[in-house]
């Protein structure tokens, strides 16, 4: 019954899919009823607070918690000593959620308390005495790679080199991707441009801080309520860290107030669980905004060298990139993704991308929307833009000339299937925005972007109620309207109105394992699984109809929400609707439900082209975004409003990254701007409307042609805006963010 990619034909005519239906969680979210991470309470609940290192790098000699434990109302204090042995796979998580021998960054957790009131918890935190030996630190990626840099982890020996080095360093691993003879390709070029770029770390900036409520019973069974992109991941990691059976811990995903990748890991959940275990009371932990910025998972800061050769006719002869990403105090930055995505938009004979994963005294990076790709695309697309300018070529023509297309060999190895890059470029070229006139101090920028899109482990359950309505349980938290899109796909397949399907996010005890909501995978993978589950249920309903009619099941077909005899030979029978069959379910064999458990493949890569006009104020260095248009391939836009929303939201996060946002560390290695006043994300008055153009090149890997849309939209903006500002200012920008002082410096004004 499951969809067979490459064998089954794709559905092209839709009734529900492609319409702008109301979202099922809408009412709760406009009335204040929706329950987010911090909105849950439990009888007897304690408040948990976390003590954090004020040092960027320090050995922890001793922690004295006795005075804190003596505070009235305090029921538990935990430190690293409360987290025992654990599997290797979660060792870094264990170190990150609670510092052990050393505090590795400003904000690293060192102890936690649970008390009957926040006031008592606060008072207790102040009474915990930590004896630190402050160590030399390093926060900049290039500095961290120098042989003279303080070594953060003396057990870290660079992987991926021909010979493992004898000395430890801050370089965790080297990666290389590509094919062809890059040196020969560069020699053939009429023009070669080589440049170095730097980008600062940014934060996902979700408005809802991390929050959880953990309750651990003395029988070894526990519950967690939390805002997360993956409650099955929370269950796995927390049970492993606490030495519990996975099934003894049930995790329920609250409504989630934004994630963008930042909630694909755990920070406070194991701490709350340990506090609950020790106090035998439910414990709620909610991060403050400054904790979110200091101690959750921002992006890498990067340093990137790009060398590209181009002929006078616009043909790119070779591309070469070296990418250095610091990912905080632990290995695992997104540099491999960056290196793989860097040249993915181009069909090149010779290409190489080398990546270095570097550690530094900063919080461990987490995924942020197309992790690693925006910075790589920024550097590559900046050099392509400069080549176009130097050779007096149109940037869209050059991209069309070199664009990856169906079947071309990707810069990271595989051959592309059916892809939509050219369609987005052609849509951009035909759009009035591309021909609009520009004024003084104004410039236009173009850039393309790519993201892989994931599939992954997915489990869905679809239950037919006796009244003919549908309960659809998925295990992937809804971070942007996915309940609407998944519910609509199930309705489409079953042939029932969309409002007869209620899609919910089930807890970890109610469904098989689901990978986290990441990689733009949910509408693709949970949607695919929902369609398969609907087909499973349809098969069962056809069997019931066959039984009622006394004909073989092969002679029954499903059309427009009803079982029908497949041909006149099958006899004359009035169609049995889904509701008819559901009403008789008890008498015909019991409840009807459909299931699908898969490891979804065929996600279908995604491309976008962005156009942006900016104006640079030569007096102040302020950059104003005048006009912005996104062209992105959605495969099939299941719910166009939320597809547009993904395009617009990604573009604006990119605008923030390009112009304002940065982690600023002081000489002492502490974060200087841990608040929304100083870490400034774009506000409404900074922006124009963001035009979203949906391009649809169906993905052969999904029955409706769906591709993930969530992440690609943040890949082009950094480059598009930098190209636009470079055009407006008449000088090539090579560092992000392009804050007013940096623009003035580039203009030679300061």
């Amino acid at each position: 019954m499951n969809f067979q990619p490459g064998k089954d034909t794709l559905k092209r005519n839709f009734k529900t899919v492609g319409t702008r239906t109301p979202r099922p969680d809408g009412l709760d979210k406009i009335t204040g009823r929706a329950q987010f991470g911090a909105d849950m309470t439990a009888p007897g609940m304690l408040w948990g607070l976390i003590l954090r290192s004020p040092h960027a790098h320090a050995r922890i000699r001793k922690i004295d918690t006795s005075k804190a434990e003596a505070v009235n109302g305090v029921h538990a204090v935990v430190t690293a000593a409360d987290f025992g042995p654990c599997p290797d796979g979660v060792l870094d998580v264990r170190e990150n959620i609670m510092a052990r021998e050393k505090a590795l960054y400003d904000g690293h957790a060192v102890a936690a308390v649970a008390a009957t009131s926040r006031a008592a918890a606060k008072q207790a935190l102040k009474l915990i005495k930590v004896d630190y030996e402050v160590l030399p630190h390093v926060t900049d990626v290039d500095e961290a790679m120098k042989p003279s840099a303080p070594v953060i982890n003396n057990k870290l020996f660079t992987k991926g080199l021909d010979k493992t080095p004898r000395k430890p360093s801050n370089v965790a691993e080297r990666f290389e991707f590509g094919h062809g003879d890059v040196e020969a390709g560069l020699k053939q070029a009429d023009l070669v441009i080589e440049r170095t770029f730097k980008t600062e770390a940014t934060h996902q900036g979700y408005i809802e801080p991390h929050a959880c409520l953990a309750s651990m019973g003395s029988d070894g069974k526990g519950d967690i309520w939390c805002c997360t992109q993956g409650h099955f991941m929370v269950r796995q990691v927390c049970s492993a860290l606490l030495g519990m059976d996975a099934s003894a811990l049930r995790v329920t995903a609250s409504e989630i107030g934004g994630g963008f990748g930042g909630k694909t890991t755990v920070f406070i959940e194991p701490v709350a669980l340990a506090l609950s275990l020790k106090s035998n009371r439910p414990v709620k932990v909610v991060m403050s905004r400054s904790e979110v910025l200091r101690a959750s998972g921002p992006t890498s800061s990067t340093s990137i060298d790009i060398k590209i050769g181009m002929n006078k006719d616009g043909t790119i002869t070779a591309g070469d990139a070296t990418l250095r990403y610091q990912g905080g105090a632990f290995p695992g930055s997104a540099v491999p993704y960056g290196a793989m995505a860097a040249f993915a938009c181009y069909d090149l004979k010779a290409v190489r991308a080398v990546g270095y994963d570097v550690i530094a005294n900063r919080p461990k990076q987490a995924a942020y929307r197309a992790p690693g790709a925006p910075m790589a695309a920024y550097a590559v697309e900046s050099v392509v833009d400069e080549l176009c300018k130097e050779l007096d070529l149109d940037p869209l023509d050059v991209r069309l000339k070199n664009a990856s297309s169906d079947g071309s060999k990707a810069s990271y190895g595989p051959n592309f299937d059916v892809i939509g890059l050219r369609a987005t470029l052609e849509a951009a070229r035909a759009h009035p925005h591309y021909k609009a006139k520009l004024g003084r101090n104004q410039g236009r920028g173009v850039a393309c972007g790519f993201w892989f899109n994931f599939g992954g482990e997915t489990s869905v359950s679809l239950n037919v109620s006796a009244d003919g309505t549908i309960g659809l349980s998925v295990g992937t938290p809804d971070i942007g309207g996915s309940r609407a899109s998944i519910g609509n796909m199930a309705a489409e397949e079953l042939g029932v109105p969309h409002d007869k399907v209620r899609c919910i996010i089930a807890d970890t005890a109610s469904l098989g394992y689901n990978d986290v909501t990441d990689g733009s995978r949910v509408t693709f993978a949970s949607g695919l699984a929902a369609i398969n589950a609907a087909r499973d249920a349809i098969g069962k309903m056809c069997e019931r109809a066959a039984g009622i009619w006394g004909i073989p099941v092969e002679a029954v077909t499903w059309e427009d929400g009803a079982a029908r005899p497949s041909s006149p030979n099958a006899g004359k029978h009035e169609p049995l609707t889904l509701a008819d069959i559901a009403a008789q379910a008890g008498a015909t064999g019991g409840p009807i439900s459909g299931h699908c458990e898969i490891n979804a493949e065929g996600a279908g890569v995604s491309f976008a082209t962005h156009l942006v006009d900016t104006e640079v104020d030569p007096e102040t260095g302020y950059v104003k975004v005048l006009r912005y248009t996104v062209f992105q391939d959605a495969g099939k836009a299941v719910h166009p409003s939320y597809v547009e929303g993904q395009f617009q939201g990604g573009a604006v996060q990119g605008i923030g990254w390009a112009l304002n946002e940065e982690y600023i560390y002081g000489k002492d290695g502490t974060l200087q701007n841990a608040g929304f006043l100083d870490y400034r994300i774009p506000v409404a008055s900074d922006l124009p409307m963001i035009d979203a153009v949906i391009v649809e090149v169906p993905n052969p890997g999904h029955p409706y042609g769906v591709r993930g849309v969530g992440e690609t939209s943040i890949v082009p903006p950094l480059a598009a805006i930098s190209n636009s500002v470079s055009d407006a200012a008449g000088v090539r920008m090579t560092q992000l963010p392009m804050s007013p002082p940096r623009v003035l410096k580039a203009l030679g004004r300061i």
Partner: protein
């Protein structure tokens, strides 16, 4: 610990509570009164997710003490709909898909209502500046601004019907 006794009005209901001297109005609403519709995104008045109206004035409830609510009239997101009848802004936010994750939405709705009560015909720029104290990380603000402008247009309609209807332009 010494607590302060406060009598206030919340969404028209007389309400009494006791709180610590240093507790914010947001903490009181959320933790003492169970009104969790107002959200804490920053606790420093930078994000607007906790927006409420106090005696007609739009404020961040994280920047006001609970004790300061004494004798005031407070409006929160929970009081925005009239029973089952949504405020026009709430309906337009749904129609325009002006929310994704929804955590900033209560604050935006409270702030936008406050704007439309002062200015029933705001320009796009006025909407953008009025809402500049409310952070949204999902939508890029486009659909939010459209929803507010569209609500204002609809709410002005009754007055406009008195005027003669504009002639329809017919394309040749």
């Amino acid at each position: 610990m010494f607590q302060i006794q406060v009598s206030t009005s919340i969404n028209g209901d007389d309400t009494e509570f006791s709180c610590e001297a240093d507790e914010t109005l947001l903490d009181v609403l959320r933790d003492r009164l169970g009104m969790t519709g107002s959200k804490e995104g920053c606790g420093t008045g930078d994000c607007g997710a906790c927006s409420v109206v106090v005696d007609g004035r739009l404020v961040c409830s994280c920047l006001m003490l609970g004790a300061e609510a004494q004798g005031r009239e407070i409006e929160t997101i929970e009081g925005m709909a009239d029973g089952t009848e949504l405020h026009p802004l709430q309906q337009k936010f749904l129609d325009h898909a002006a929310l994704q994750c929804g955590v900033c939405t209560p604050g935006f709705l409270v702030a936008a209502k406050s704007l439309l009560e002062r200015n029933d015909d705001p320009t796009e720029e006025e909407v953008r500046y009025w809402l500049a104290g409310n952070l949204c990380r999902c939508t890029g603000y486009d659909k939010i601004v459209r929803a507010v402008l569209d609500t204002a247009k609809d709410m002005r309609k009754p007055a406009k019907t008195k005027k003669p209807a504009a002639k329809k332009r017919v394309k040749a």
